[in-house]
Symmetry: D2
Subunit: 138 residues, 4 copies
């Protein structure tokens, strides 16, 4: 399955409103359409931290999975929130180090005005995924 097809098949991506923009060469970009359902406040639109974390895990995971050629479970993720989010988002993830057992990925998130709203680092498991795992697809 191609990355574009794989991304489009993920139920949580649909639930949150994420789309794959680019993938390849250790890089992936994902967009997220922010609506009132993502808000942490019922009186105004201000995206919940979990929305941004969902976008980061999706973009960084896609970069790692594409480089690995197999699904890469997240080992850990660390996010710095830099500014409040009130518009749609774009996340760009880049592999920092791709290894046989783990990969480190950085991810930068921007809003539609170009404001840098979050920066993150994640570690993914790249080895041991050849057999049947809880993450496997047929």
């Amino acid at each position: 399955m191609q990355p574009e097809q794989y991304a489009a098949s993920i139920p949580y991506w649909k639930h949150i409103g994420m789309e794959l923009l680019e993938v390849g060469d250790g890089h992936a970009a994902v967009s997220l359409s922010v609506g009132q359902e993502h808000s942490s406040n019922d009186e105004r639109l201000i995206a919940h931290g979990g929305v941004i974390a969902s976008l980061v895990d999706s973009a960084a995971g896609m970069a790692a999975t594409a480089a690995n050629g197999a699904i890469t479970p997240t080992i850990d993720m660390r996010i710095d929130y830099l500014a409040p989010v009130t518009t749609d988002l774009r996340a760009d993830a880049e592999i920092v180090r791709h290894g046989e057992s783990t990969s480190v990925v950085s991810c930068e998130v921007y809003d539609t005005e170009g404001t840098h709203v979050a920066t993150a680092r994640s570690v993914f498991k790249t080895g041991g995924g050849d057999g049947e795992t809880p993450w496997s697809r047929e």
Copy 2:
């Protein structure tokens, strides 16, 4: 507004399926009902990392907000994923250090079988929230 009312008013909590179980004395517990819409796989139920991150930011943020008496934006969050998630979840957050400008909160996530599926630490901004901010409610 009481914490229970506040939690019930947050649009993203409804969108993800989270409910406040307990809050007080530097502690908060939140449940998340996991369904196929949270899956990272269209062939089976395996929760996306963003789902667990959303739960962590919600539980930890509620503990910090209740202790602070005012909304506490997330400064950073770090999650270790310990096991695949295929059932409903419960997160328990505890304040590690409550300060005038920032607070550190730990959060442990368990599935319905008692498996420890994630552990996290977050830092929240506790000062400077008296005036109008992007997070304010009337």
Copy 3:
């Protein structure tokens, strides 16, 4: 080589003034004798953040290495600094999850008055260390 002998052989432990107090069953405790050479200030004794980070990496790494039966390089480390350090220190590290390719370890640091001065989480590489590596001993 036993853990006690191994710890006593590490040049950096001597340079910083660390000693192994306990090790076993997924746990390790290490002490650090704080002196003016550890200070970030030439007018008073206030330990540099790198001193506490050195203690955390040592205690957590010893817990992981003992559980793994082979040296475990650090993949990542995250420290929250909770209070200024002006006395000797003790770090207690516990394995949160021990896996075939990686382990997650928590570490709590206390001063001699019992103040909780730092809390940390680390990930260590537990697989792939059977052959010759840059970390190997004869």
Copy 4:
């Protein structure tokens, strides 16, 4: 006191062998001369993780302190170790976001062969340091 003088006055910098190379405009660079006293192995030179963490906290802290105009205690630090270290090191720190109460700083560490050996993010306290604190100098 100028940053160069301040750096040269710090006891722990001398103990570890660090020197300030550059500082200004939200940036700082620090070198570390790696010797056998920094090794985690008595049979060969392989730098302990605490050595790299000490360098990161020093470079990132100097960038934050210079931008803030006052000493900035570390709130948290997260390091990804990318490759084994066997040579001298250089760390370059850049402010990602400078705020009134906290600042986020990134730091990249390279060895003398240009290998990217570590990447880190730290949060520093930038507010509340006007009065007497445990970190103050006369």
